[in-house]
Amino acid sequence: MIPITLTVNGEKVTRHVEPRRHLIDFLRLDLGLTGSHAGCEHGVCGACTLRVNGKIMRGCLILAASLDGAEVVTIEGLSESGEVADLQAAFVARNAAQCGFCTPGMVMTAAELLTEGGCPTRGDIREYLSGNYCRCTGYQAIVDAVEDTLRARGATP
């Protein structure tokens, strides 16, 4: 077992983890934070996307053991911070969540796009979200929601 101390959603957490524990199982099973979803578990679907040290990453492709000293923000922390309240409202308004399994990862990824500045086009939005799979919506409503949020925040193409 490997000892780690890290910050999760602003709270300091100390645990012993097995090397084979990935970050998503650590969050879901050890900490009870079930907002990050374990989908494909090999880095393809994006349902486990979260922030590590301020940047989005695949939770299923990170050893929990490697995160000593890291700062992790999950969808729970991001929601509570209010940073993406407008994006989440746009997801509701545009019906961009159907079954909802991909939604936390979509919001985490779109949140990073929103912080990057510039004036992304719909094509840029699709490209940025291309690592996040949705099997329900056909993506149109998700792109609509992200685009609405970008425009409301003042980015014009």
């Binding site: 084979r20 994006g46 590590v52 989005i56 990453m57 299923c60 492709l61 990170i62 050893l63 490697s66």
Partner: protein, 288 residues
């Protein structure tokens, strides 16, 4: 599926790394960003005894230019290649290639050294290193050695690295040559069905010392000698492009893979040749 049971150790310095590699012997597997390695664990394509985490080794980080070469530490992230001004200024080919690698969340953790050491024949960065005539700086307990990129990729997923040797950095010569990369994928972020990284000098419209390096069409990045010979000294025009496309038949021997038969790969390679070379006629092209 879940990863197999395994050990884990952090190396915080090169000295600690050599010591850990000695201790764990053949069971040791170095992990950097892990964006390929950890996926292969999920498929049981590899079952290492102990992962040695090198991401805390400061000596493998950072990038710098001395006017002659751009030195990029092995732990340089794909995301750094996408956005760093020094990379954009001195190695625009890498700045153009990095956004083609996977997706933002993976580029934020995947490393240059990891991509080169894994040596996937369909990956962008190995081909770029060959096209740029880069030097791989390998390090081991015995010290450093320099390996030309063209000699580094030896076979499918195989490199010239010796056991217990790692990539410490790469050096890109600052030549000011033109460079471009194009690839064809089924979905954005996938490994390429076929791709081309090319560098050349244009002297009063004549092509000098072209290097056309195709990826996804063989066991390693393929430097197309016949196509380069067909272009050497010619003016960059339709006839020259056509000559290079024809000469490619002697350069490429693509395998049948899940994307399709060899002839499809040859076709894609010809298409890429035209796209890349026509791109050099565009005045917006940046210098390498």
């Amino acid at each position: 599926m879940k990863w197999p049971a395994m050990g884990y150790a952090r190396a915080r310095s090169l000295a600690e790394l050599w010591s850990a590699l000695e201790t764990h012997g053949d069971a040791a597997q170095i992990i950097a960003g892990g964006q390929t390695l950890l996926a292969t664990l999920a498929f049981r394509l590899s079952e290492p005894g102990t992962l040695i985490d090198i991401t805390g080794i400061a000596a493998l980080r950072g990038f710098s230019s001395n006017g002659q070469v751009l030195r990029l530490g092995a732990l340089t992230l794909h995301a750094d290649l996408c956005s760093d001004p020094l990379v954009k200024a001195h190695a625009p080919l890498l700045a153009a290639a990095a956004p083609l690698i996977a997706h933002p969340a993976i580029r934020n953790r995947g490393t240059l050294g990891g991509s080169l050491a894994y040596a996937d024949p369909a990956a962008e960065l190995p081909a770029c290193m060959v096209a740029l005539d880069a030097t791989i700086i390998a390090a081991s307990a015995k010290g450093e050695r320099r390996i030309p990129a063209a000699a580094f990729f030896t076979d499918l997923l195989q490199t010239a690295l010796a056991p217990r040797e790692i990539i410490a950095a790469v050096e890109i010569p600052l030549t000011g040559r033109l460079a471009a990369i194009e690839e064809i994928t089924r979905r954005s972020g996938d490994y390429a069905m076929a791709g081309l990284a090319a560098t050349l000098t244009l002297d009063a419209g004549r092509i000098l010392a072209p290097r056309l390096v195709y990826f996804g069409v063989g066991k390693i990045p393929v430097c197309a000698a016949a196509a380069a010979k067909a272009l050497e000294g010619r003016s960059l025009d339709r006839a020259g492009i056509s000559a290079a496309q024809q000469a490619l038949a002697d350069d490429l021997d693509p395998p049948h893979d899940l994307h399709g038969p060899p002839e499809m790969k040859r076709h894609l390679a010809r298409v890429l040749t035209e796209r890349v070379l026509l791109g050099f006629l565009n005045p917006k092209v940046q210098a390498a």
